[in-house]
Assembly symmetry: C2
Homo-oligomer: 317 residues x 2
């Protein structure tokens, strides 16, 4: 079946590259994924990766977001100040002149000045989530779990505040390199133990203003005392760290706003458990946010207005 | 000059072994140090390390403290409950029957049950510090900075409470393995920049109940914004982590008790800077605490009562 393609979207992060091909209505008619994050590019660098991931696709205009716009990316796109919405982000896009195969535009990330914080890529996911679920435009808290988890506040359709917590990175550091992970076989498959995870979340919640830093060594002490099995340690530490995100968030009085999760389903499941322990209503999980966000930003930036519709055979949908 | 030796003390930790030879008055007449921590033993294990470090010394009774009494040590000595003083620690010592060259006694560590926490070796340093500075027996807070920093409260001559914070280990993890340390040449010699360190301490103090976990990513953001030089990053992160120790301690209302520091002078200097920022009176730094503590525990345990005085030529004092 032949379709019409109008736009290519790239969600180009540190460790992965996702490409979406859209029809004239913003529907994704093909998508591809590769490990060519900006730190793991193939020979030939950015142009090579782009050529390979769009191979066989029509030469549509491209909108990209994520670390591809960082200093280490294809072209550095300056951060935008808060508050920001789709229109502001679209206005901040820069074109990559070095890309001769396509009209390639990269969206900016956002920064907060005091205390300093930055995001690249998550702003596009939030824009996508707000497009998919406009009922959250008025007032919501978006949580994007990951290596560097983001907690963003949306008011009146704009991202007004956000915080980054290095949860995923710290978890990996502690498991791989610290005394806590010593003797833990990380390669072994474990099913998620909600009870153990919840025990970690509660421990950090009960610590009050003290927080996770004062709880970490207890993991070692519990092991020595036979009160924590080696197999339970990863979920317990995960509970402490994710619990800490909620503990910090609870100080910022975001309790009232509905919570939306954007991320891997297995990771989101952990945040749903932690949210309940911290007294939140069940969060909404929003899928495909990046793909929607790229389309929305392209649209807000006028990239679709004069775009040609290319016919596409749709071999890899 | 010939002297009389009465006791050998061993401060035997994870990464180092220190040995002290005492005269009949508890004065250290010789001391040696080696990297034979319990995880870095020479061929032949514990007996070999002991033989080598006491080579040429008289066959005095030995008292040892630290990780040598852990499950991975020479003999596991069960932890003591709080509160504990020199007499209780001495009472908890166990003899290593496998050591045929000496009468070797290992002191127990301490544990706190709820929330779980443990120490091994630091209790002996605190006992030594209280011997050297008896004015702190009534009421003091002892801080022992390191890989796993300990904060211990002493009341009426007894250790009544303590907490462990993984400051040194987290600092090393973040510098060596995280995105924060990426691009930092750790091998390069840097002089301590008190101003940068203090900036980190103040950042975590100003975070209030939020704490260091919410501040860590700001290090990256400050670097990206050109507001923190790569050369300043290690001292800034050190300030955040040591500041977090003081932030947590300030929640436990130890502000009134005098602060005593036991540790490396360069590390203690950082704690003195942080203490001032958190409104503490200047802490007292106490040296040679481990050597004094081993003697005090041996004495409280009656190990000196029937000990023979051996003549010793004193070649390595």
């Amino acid at each position: 079946m032949s379709q019409h393609a109008q736009l290519i979207g790239l969600d180009w992060g540190t460790s992965s590259l996702r490409a979406y091909l859209y029809d004239g209505d913003g529907k994704v008619i093909a998508s591809r994924q590769h490990a060519w994050g900006i730190r793991h590019l193939p020979e030939g660098g950015f142009p090579s990766a782009l050529r390979a991931i769009t191979s066989g696709w029509p030469p549509c205009t491209i909108v990209a977001a994520g670390m591809v716009g960082s200093r280490q990316g294809w072209r550095e796109v300056p951060y935008l100040d808060l508050p920001a919405d789709a229109a502001a982000i679209a206005h901040g896009m820069l074109r990559v002149e070095a890309c001769t195969s396509h009209a390639l535009w990269i969206a900016p990330g956002l920064h907060r000045k005091e205390p300093a914080d930055v995001m690249r890529g998550e702003e596009t996911q939030i824009v996508g989530a707000l497009t998919l679920r406009p009922e959250y435009q008025a007032d919501a808290c978006f949580v994007l779990p990951g290596t560097h988890s983001k907690w963003a506040t949306v008011n009146g359709g704009r991202i007004v505040a956000f915080d980054t917590v290095m949860t995923g990175e710290l978890y990996a550091l502690l498991m791989k390199h610290s005394i806590l992970g010593a003797g833990i076989d990380l390669a072994r498959e474990r099913s998620f133990c909600e009870e153990t995870f919840a025990r970690g979340v509660r421990a950090v919640k009960d610590s009050g203003a003290s927080g996770v830093f004062g709880c970490l060594f207890s993991v070692r002490a519990l092991m020595l005392a036979g009160q924590l099995a080696a197999d339970d340690l990863p979920d317990f530490v995960s509970g402490l760290l994710i619990g800490e995100e909620f503990r910090i968030a609870s100080l910022r009085q975001i309790q009232a706003a509905p919570l939306c999760l954007i991320g891997e389903p297995a990771l989101c499941q952990r945040y749903i458990v932690a949210a309940a322990i911290f007294g939140h209503a069940p969060p909404t999980v929003i899928d495909d946010a990046a793909a929607q966000g790229l389309w929305r930003i392209a649209s807000a930036g006028g990239l679709l207005e004069h775009a040609t519709l290319h016919s596409y055979a749709g071999a890899d949908t």
